[in-house]
Amino acid sequence: MASELDIFVGNTTLIDEDVYRLWLDGYSVSDAVALRVRSGILEQTGATAAVLQSDTMDHYRTFQMLERLLHAPPKLLHQLIFQIPPSRQALLIERYYTFDEAFVREVLGKKLSKGTKKDLDDISTKTGITLKSCRRQFDNFKRVFKVVEEMRGSLVDNIQQHFLLSDRLARDYAAIVFFANNRFETGKKKLQYLSFGDFAFCAELMIQNWTLGAVGEAPTEPDSQVDDMDMDLDKEFLQDLKELKVLVADKDLLDLHKSLVCTALRGKLGVFSEMEANFKNLSRGLVNVAAKLTHNKDVRDLFVDLVEKFLEPCRSDHWPLSDVRLFLNQYSASVHSLDGFRYQALWDRYMGTLRGCLLRLYHD
């Protein structure tokens, strides 16, 4: 007695959160049934495995039908086929766009292209996340990217408007899109200790300060090529950063900077001597990173450079985080007292963000 056909359709669409999670995690119906059995649901409800199978199939079918709508969440709100209470709609969307930390770390900063998609097999094996789930997450990244790529205005707002995500999730997606667009390298071994949260934090700072949108100058002519204001780094700004080179190239200026910082921090820093010994190296590192940002290749290596040139030296000398903070504050502020240095605003725009990033990235 095989069931040829077995369906259940409610006037209000039934959504089982547990089954939804299993579906999102990419389990097949039989795996999902096995997992549900293991959860003890049969004992709780007195149902049979056949009932569970039928129920799971039904939910999976519903989710498959909903998936098309979830690709454009506003459609889910306006469609007439599934009557779903608003709170449930929000849950469906939010969960659909939620991603796994392990997965996002693998693709963060990579081009969201077919090539990367081919690597999903490896990522799936490496992370233990099902290939199906990897594909969904990857497609979500790509879809959001495609939609907001050409848009004006705030990246987070655009994402929120077109995908109806929560504020938190929209910010995360902004970071993913920003990283993908600028192709920041995040996969190097040296960067493995960093979490997605660390990068997302940096992305937010960079979007706020280093992009065209950050300057707040609305493009006057509509056809201008500055459409994606939040996604691209401000080219002019990057170009200008070359000017900072004088801070390390001019020996007098470098010495003066060092003495200002040392005077201010003497007695306040536990690692003062190490700092004093390393000052020139560190300063050179930070300024050179800035000066190199005109090349795309170097932009991509931004985080590698920061780790190599600044974070690792500090860590090898066992600077406590509080000392790093004191140093960076003083290091940034002292430049204002350098009379010969004309690029104070540029410096602040650069260092303000970089300081935030470095402090966030400085951990084990």
Partner: protein
């Protein structure tokens, strides 16, 4: 009344991409009514076109207005080739034709294509201007209201219930016309949809004309069905009950009444009654007192919401009800004369209603049914559907004579159905024989004196159980006892009916769904031989279904069935029988005896042991069920009854016959002859199987109840959460060694598993009850069995459990109070003319009900109120999740019930009657048969909701899926499905919202009682 139909096409959205090159669509719209077509401009390159068209005006006859649907076609403009159709919308404009319903149809409609399903939406506005034109020879019946609801609709009162109306129209099925060979499946499907839409319109108009002839203004319990007879044609038939309805005033107007209930009683002016003669019985009669003492809270809650009830309508509960006993003899005859004269004027004294105004139903005789097997032949002249008419007339005649044999002059809860396989058709009709109060059947001419004399001592809640037939001349062997409630009249030991449980019936414990399921193999045969084979099998099936029902009823420890529906379906090589009903324990009927098992070979020790083991199991089950359904009838000592409690004996209340194409009628005595029916004899393995199968029915998990009637006896405090659903299952039988037993087991498992799945799926709603569970079974192909279930799950408040310790009388009061809208007019009179000698003075009762309500802590009450408004909750959530706040789709509730728990229906907007065909040639790609049908049913729901919303409504009540015909051909990757649904579009207001209005009333002294009462309903 010719009229002007005006249509405006506003916009489209979510259109499909029709031009692959641009990924866009150049859409335009054709608007067609009758033979006139208008077009909008082409809106280029958009998936969200804004046409904003002018008003397209059609000047048409009202006849056409009733028959024709408005047809809107969305197309993609193509410069070089033919324009591609995107999809269509059919709009039934009937709701715009009567004044009280909708005035405008405006909203987003899904654009539907029979091959692709829903493809985007279109925003349309439709209006109708009717010109008054008093043409005496008119062919239209504009203005006659139609209701699917099988009781008097909530915001109306029945002035007269005229009776049965029926009509059928036939046509050739476009699917079987020669042209179908050369046209596309889409064109064929659309031709069929359009034809059926036209035919339903015509049918409704013709029924309307009959109603006007009877001087009625509405059809209640309107049931329209399609018979897809294949080659021989397409039959659309409908039955209903013609009524004259008056609209009650708006609910807002009721509210002040609730502030001064005691005053109200005195104020109710007798002179409001346009027909004072009927009240000649004087201010108070013992009968009335007694009646009312059983329903005080009912009277109160109802009174609180109706101050302007027309008293002429108020029934005399006493009418003829005491007639059956020894003293009642002459009156009984008189009454029958009276009613008969009223009923004999009509050909068929049938009523499709299943619930009645109080006092309407006097006695219930039992279920009457008739079936007939017919051979289909081509309908040669569609304009003269005489053959089909004659077939039905024959069956109705039979029903009528069965009813007469039961001493009844009317049939209530009447319905008709067919089952077709190839060229064989089984026509079935069933109903409940009853004696009715003539007061409702004619206008004003009611007999004053008769009424006066008939008012005897009659307790409420048992009158309808008293036998209508002559004790000495019973139509079948029956066992009678004195009523356990009033001790005066005779009652049968078991009662089967097709109606809902009457409001005033006294029930002990809760009810439950009882099903009998049966398969019988049949040889494949052609034409006459086939029909004969089926006719020969039918009596056996009926007998077995009946036996199963009886046994299961006993097993549940109950003594009455309501809402009984027996469906016999015919397939190529088998017959299936499925009977569903709601079992209850009626306090008026005797306690059912147990079930005894007897073996054939009493000498065999081990066998004996086995038998006693089985017996124990059965006894345990009965005991368990009694506990589960809280059946604790009060102990009655035999002296009080005055006669020994008789040994129960099974007896049939079913009277039926089968007839083949010939007119031969075989009466079947379903009683088990001389044998004591409670004894199950186990004489072979078959019988063993039967006993086993009795025990395999698993009760629903705790927190779940189910019934196939409107409301569950014994549960009152419904909360407002409802979930209507449709579930379909098809199983394929392995064609090897099919035996009757294997078939029965398969079928039984199918139904049981389906129920189990439902309980599992809806577990989050516990405690809840599945109401109006409607099973239909069909045999689409040789080895396929299809079962379709539609029901609604309603949550209820668990606090109910506290009340179960109260006596059943109290319980019935509470239950009665739940339906305060239905019987608005009843209590007014009660209170008005029988105040002084009333055993329970109303004021006191009111206090009681007030105190019981206010007994709930205020905080808790507040919680209930909140629960009762999920919409409010939804809004709240909306606010907290701003991302979804801009949702524009309003919620439309759907329910097979005639009411919405926790809400008041304020307006009926018209009937929804829709027919859809969906076909696919890419079955696998659409997720197989399950994916295909799942999507289709979801789409049907969506289209129903969209139409209701466009009419300005927020719910469909009395929703029913009348047909779901599914055909597949997996080898060709094809499938086709036809679905027909109907219901009443309504506007409802949450009682919690009404409450807000009422709290704004200045004098809120009785507020806690009224609002509390409303919330718990």
């Amino acid at each position: 009344m010719p009229g002007k139909l005006k249509v405006k096409i506003v916009a489209g959205r979510h259109l499909p991409v029709m031009d692959r090159a641009s990924d866009l669509t150049d859409a335009f719209v054709e608007v067609k009514f009758g033979n006139t077509t208008f077009k909008t401009d082409v809106y280029h390159k958009s998936l969200n076109p804004q046409w904003n068209s002018e008003w397209f005006k059609f000047e048409v006859d009202d006849e056409d207005l009733q028959d024709e649907p408005l047809q809107i076609t969305v197309l993609d403009h193509d410069t070089y080739s033919a324009n591609d159709a995107i999809g269509k919308v059919y709009i039934d404009i009937d709701p715009l034709l009567y004044s009280e319903a909708a005035t405008v149809i405006s909203g987003w409609f899904p654009i539907y294509d029979t091959i692709h399903g829903i493809r985007g939406e279109i925003n349309v506005v439709v209006k109708v201007d009717l010109f008054n034109d008093l043409n005496r020879f008119r062919q239209s019946s504009c203005g006659v209201k139609f209701f699917c609801t099988t009781s008097i609709p909530k915001c109306y009162k029945a002035v007269i219930i005229h009776g049965f109306v029926e009509e059928l129209v036939v046509n050739e099925d476009p699917e079987y016309q020669w042209i179908d060979r050369i046209r596309t499946p889409r064109a064929s499907n659309e031709a069929r949809q359009r034809l059926i839409s036209l035919m339903s319109g015509e049918l409704q108009r013709k029924i309307g004309l009959k109603v006007l002839e009877m001087r009625g203004n509405a059809v209640v319990g309107y049931l329209q069905c399609f018979d897809l007879e294949g080659e021989s044609g397409l039959v659309v038939r409908a039955i209903g009950t013609a009524c004259t309805l008056d609209k009650l005033s708006s609910p807002a107007a009721f509210l002040p009444a609730c502030n001064s209930p005691s005053k109200e009683i005195k104020e109710i002016p007798f002179n409001e009654d346009p027909n004072p003669n009927t009240h000649s019985s004087g201010p108070s009669t013992p009968l009335k007192n007694q009646t009312y003492s059983f329903s005080p809270s009912k009277s109160y809650s109802r009174q609180s919401s109706s101050s302007d009830t027309d008293l002429s309508l108020t029934p005399k509960t006493g009418m003829g009800s005491g007639s059956a006993g020894k003293e009642g003899g002459p009156f009984k005859a008189l009454l029958r004369q009276q009613t008969q004269s009223a009923l004999e004027q009509r050909e068929f004294p049938f009523f499709t209603l299943t619930a009645f105004p109080p006092g309407f139903l006097v006695h219930v005789g039992g279920v009457v049914s008739a079936r007939s097997v017919k051979l289909l032949d081509r309908i040669h002249n569609p304009d003269e559907p005489e053959t089909r008419d004659a077939w039905w007339a024959e069956i109705r005649q039979e029903i009528k004579s069965h009813a007469k044999a039961l001493g009844c002059h009317a049939v209530v809860g009447y319905s008709e159905s067919t089952s077709i396989c190839e060229e064989v058709c089984i026509l079935s009709a069933s109903g409940t024989a009853a004696v009715l109060n003539p007061r409702f059947l004619q206008d004003g001419t009611v007999e004053g004196c008769l009424e006066q004399r008939l008012e005897e001592n009659l307790p409420a809640g048992c009158g309808f159980c008293h036998i209508p037939y002559d004790e000495l001349n019973m139509p079948f062997p029956a066992h009678l006892t004195y009523c356990y409630n009033c001790r005066k009249q005779k009652v049968p030991d078991v009662l089967f009916t097709t109606i809902d449980l009457p409001m005033d019936a006294t029930v002990i414990g809760k009810g439950c769904l009882i099903q009998a399921r049966l398969c019988r193999l049949k040889k494949k045969a052609q034409a006459e031989a086939n029909a004969t084979a089926i006719s020969n099998l039918l009596p056996f099936m009926e007998y077995e279904v009946h036996t199963q029902l009886m046994n299961k009823l006993k097993l549940k420890g109950m003594n009455a069935l309501f809402g009984l529906r027996i469906q016999i379906s015919v397939g190529e090589n088998m017959l299936m029988g499925l009977a569903s009903a709601t079992g209850v324990y009626l306090a008026a009927l005797p306690t059912p005896g147990g079930i005894q098992i007897a073996g054939k070979t009493p000498n065999d020790g081990s066998y004996e042991q086995h038998i006693s083991h089985m017996q124990k199991k059965i006894n345990d089950t009965i005991a368990k069920n009694k506990e589960l359904y809280e059946i604790n009838p009060p102990e009655i000592s035999e002296e009080i009854i005055g006669s020994p409690i008789p040994e129960p004996r099974q007896r049939s209340r079913l009277l039926r016959s089968q007839s083949e194409s010939s007119d031969e009628v075989t009466e079947l005595d379903l009683s088990h002859g001389k044998k004591d029916a409670f004894v199950l004899e186990i004489d072979d393995t078959d019988a063993m199987e039967d006993v086993h199968s009795l025990l395999t029915d698993v009760p629903p998990p705790s927190g779940f109840y189910s019934c196939n009637t409107e409301i569950m006896p014994g549960i009152n405090n419904w909360t407002s959460e409802i979930q209507m659903f449709t579930s379909v299952r098809v199983i394929r039988l392995s064609s090897l060694n099919l035996t009757n037993q294997a078939l029965n087991k398969n079928f039984n498992d199918l139904c049981e598993n389906l129920l189990k799945s439902l309980y599992f799926k809806l577990r989050s709603m516990i405690p809840c009850c599945l109401c109006h569970v409607n099973f239909t079974v069909s045999l689409p192909e040789d080895e396929l069995i299809q079962v379709t279930v539609t029901a609604v799950a309603i949550t209820f408040d668990k606090n109910q459990a506290l009340q179960t310790t109260k006596t059943h009388v109290e319980k019935s009061l509470q239950r009665a109070s739940t339906d305060n809208e239905e019987l608005l007019q009843f209590p007014l009179e009660l209170c008005s003319d029988s105040l002084p000698p009333h055993p329970f003075p109303p004021a006191k009762e009111h206090l009681e009900s007030a105190s019981s309500n206010s007994g709930i802590p205020a905080a808790q009450r507040a919680v209930t109120v909140e629960k009762a408004s999920p919409m409010g909750e939804g809004n709240f959530r909306n606010r907290s999740t701003p991302s979804c706040a801009n949702s524009t789709v309003g919620v439309v509730k759907m329910t097979p019930l005639s009411f919405i728990p926790g809400a008041k229906i304020t307006k009926y907007l018209g009937i929804i009657n829709m027919f859809f065909i969906r076909e696919t040639t890419s079955l696998r790609e659409e997720g197989g048969v399950s994916g295909f049908l799942h999507a289709f049913i979801a789409e049907v729901f969506a289209m129903v909701r969209a139409h209701v919303a466009a009419l300005g409504g927020n719910a469909v009540v009395s929703y029913i899926m009348k047909q779901c015909v599914f055909m597949e051909n997996p080898n060709k990757n094809q499938a086709q499905c036809l679905i027909n649904v109907s219901g009443d579009a309504v506007v409802f207001v949450r009682e919690s919202e009404l409450e807000v209005i009422s709290t704004q009333q200045p004098a809120a002294n009785c507020q806690p009682a009224c609002t509390g009462g409303e919330v718990t309903t």
